[in-house]
Amino acid sequence: MASLVGSRVERKEDKRFLTGKGRYTADINLANQTYAIFVRSPHARASIKKINIDKALKSSGVVSIFTGKEIADDKIGGLIAGWAIRSEDGTEMKCPGNPPLAKDNVNFVGDPVAVVIAESLAEAKDAAEKVEVDYKVLKAVTSTADAMNGDTIHEGIDKNLCFDWLLGDRQKVKEAFDKADKVISIDIINNRLIPNAMEPRACVADYNAASEEITLYTTSQNPHLSRLIMSAFGNVAPEHKLRVVAPDVGGGFGSKINVYNEDIVCSWAVKKINRAIKWVAERSESFLTDIHGRDHVTHAELAVTKDGKFLGFKNETIANLGAYARVFGTVTPTYLFGPCATGVYEIPAAYTNVKAVYTNTAPVDAYRGAGRPEATYTIERLVEKASMELGIDKTELRIKNFPTAFPFKQTLVHTVDSGDYVAGMEKAKQMADYKGFEARRKESEAKGKLRGIGVTSYFEACGIAPSAAVMSLGCGVGLWESAEVRFNPTGQVTVYTGSHSHGQSHQTTFAQIAADELGVPIENIDIVHGDTDKGTFGMGTYGSRSLAVGGIAIVNACKKIVEKGKRVTAKMLEANPEDVEFKDGEFIVSKSNKKKTIGEVAFACYLPGVRDEMKSPLPEGDEPGLKETSFYDPSNFSFPAGTHIAEVEIDPETGHVKLEKYTACDDFGRIINPMVVEGQVHGGLAQGIGQALYENAEYDETGQLMTGSYMDYTMPRADNFPEFNIGYTCTHATTNPLGVKGCGEAGAIAAPPTVMNAVIDALGGQEVTMPATAEKVWKACKNLKKSNAKAA
């Protein structure tokens, strides 16, 4: 039987999406349901003096209205930070309470203060407008760089500082810098982004008063984790009385990891009114209240010798957490950022210092790449600058500092098990025709255009993560993953996974893995996820972990099935279990060549007996049925890596940047489905290029979001991109049985510095902040003209 792993298998999930049969949360309607509208703060920072709901209660069709008071009276807990980070001085991070409905203070535009529940959506909207909230408006803190000098947002949190964290050794770094021939320094703004999954968030809550069970349908990347948080911290219901279902989910990119206010409020209110409640975000609500990403202000320095050896690195960053610390809010700028700060280079001494600050803006949390794009942007912009200042070719300078042997013990935390960075660089250069660039630059010049080339070599730590390691660093949970493989008596297989697919293609790729392991046709394998009532507890999908952690759990559960199958076959065929081999769906006794198919074995496990004989196919100690579970805890992170090369052409008359060529050469380890991986790379690149050239979330000084719709926030469109040139080098991960590394975030990590390095190269080394809009680039072109004229 041909192996499916490694093949371009078309997706099992596609037909329902292509024929309008997907079932997203907003498509769910329950009998006798009501509609919820949230009353949100129009102010970035204010105290709530009074809320008057009298008029609203009299509005047509209103069922109920709740405010922060009722939810506090019921002792419903708020939203939480999932990682406890300790400051350099040993003190614990400082987190404010984040109630599901604000009671005393609001801290960003969109912070919910009340929920109106009515018979129809229109009536709920009408009534929401009649809720009178008397605010005392306070001065907002919105700037990342100045947040520590602003008014104190949360009582008792001085300088708005959540933590002041250090990873690395300041003294060693100082010594390294003392020895340097040259210090390259850079100031960087990693612009704030809004994830913008195309499906706006939504939830539908249902309640069965007889069984006292709440069911919440919600747009989540991790329904089990949501249930745990809502139960343990939200106090909504005990876990066995709360079912969380994340049906088809229209993209997440990190923005649907969080349990949100609306999830908690609707699950709590549904019990009060004893009728189903439906809430669907409008896009403008998504802009205001979905978690945002990035938003760092960084000063970094690289100490080098004159022949280009890196000696030391330091990174001083202020990270904006927004108004509250959320699930991955505190780990994103620390353990997902700092350990990757030195990139793919051997740098003997390094430190990263992060000051995480609160501001009156939407909470910032994990967005595709989470911490690693920020880290990669910093080091790769520095290295590119070093290449310019040292006059060493940008690819040669990188190669000179690549590790030569694996495992590669990184400066700060990680031991990278496998990779071949030089091979990746060489292949990328070939794919991009790096040699031919100067000729292309001249051609562009002849047309009056500026052409630039940019390179990035990156690695990332993903496949998160070994539980003991992350919990020692402050994570509130272990990051293992579960799988359950269940045979039906007639031989089809259902695989339950704790991870969740919202575009990642698990229904196909996980089935490919199980098909190979079990020798069962892929048509007979179903993958089930997204429902806490189906399958075992699991941790969900983020951090490129689904395959590298969840996929391995499936492999391990399948291996247990095969082990049991061998024992049963041995009993049925009167052989020694050690003599039974399994291949392509058949158990074969090597000595006699007698065999049983896995279907026959499954059947026998469920119907363990024969007419007229007292005989069981089950060996002593084995129970009937064929179902196995695995909880897989990885031994290490996985480390995808690669080199990307971009070429841009700039029209100095307009400042327009045209991305001419984009080459990505990645090492994801073993590839399960090349078609799916290609799609993941394309999508990641589009988001990364979006950050570099188009996207920017902007607040004004009063805390109003200036980019709150698709009219103002530039989403990349089809005509913004060239055809991407994608290639791979494959070194198998040595830390898991599939040899896989993960591919979901690579594009978003590597693309911003690659594109910006190209833009800045075209601009003769002039710094431009992301996004490199026509306006900024046009100004830089004018400066360039002036300085060229001076030089002449």
């Binding site: 078309e10 292509l18 024929t19 009408d126 499906e199 989910v249 229209g250 394309h682 989403m715 469109r717």
Partner: protein, 168 residues
């Protein structure tokens, strides 16, 4: 009941009316208020939830359907505006249970991931090929400018449209 009807007309300016359409080859007639968007009518009144709502400014294109053969963002039209028209939604693109060549091409070339923008993207692409049988890459990318996809980076969508052009 009568009172609330008057409230709707007099206070909210809502007037109920009969909407008659031919949707996916089937004649439908439903009462709806005059401010009902076509997208709402399809999703809420006819339970055709394949047409998606991804924004509130008519930018994302997840709601594209065909009205009398032309693609239209169904969130930009009132159901009453298109009264009497023939509407095709993503649910009506198959023939006798066989997917349309555009749907087949999206599947074959991985032109979708989370599936949310897909119905609008497919309906828009089908209309492109009605109007331009052999579009270039640039023409495809320009045409799809009104459909936002966050997952695919568009490359496989463009490839799928080209593939479908060879089959239609």
């Amino acid at each position: 009941m009568i009172k609330s009807w008057w409230v709707k007309i007099l206070i909210k300016g809502e007037i109920m009316g009969k909407i008659s359409l031919e949707v996916n080859g089937r004649k439908v007639e439903k009462e709806a208020s005059d401010n009902t968007l076509l997208s709402t009518f399809l999703r809420e009144h006819l339970q055709l939830t394949g047409t998606h709502i991804g924004c509130d400014t008519s930018q994302c294109g997840a709601c594209v359907v065909h009205v009398d053969g032309n693609s239209l963002k169904s969130c930009t039209a009132l159901a009453a505006d298109v009264n009497g028209s023939k509407v095709t939604t993503i649910e009506g693109l198959e023939t006798n249970g066989k997917m349309h060549p555009m749907q087949e091409a999206f599947k074959k070339l991985h032109g979708l991931q989370c599936g949310f923008c897909t119905p609008g993207m497919v309906m828009s692409a089908v209309d492109l090929l009605q109007k331009n049988k052999k579009p270039s890459d640039t023409e495809i990318r320009d045409w799809l400018e009104g459909n936002i996809c966050r997952c695919t980076g568009y490359q496989n969508i463009v490839a799928a449209v080209k593939e479908a052009a060879t089959k239609m």
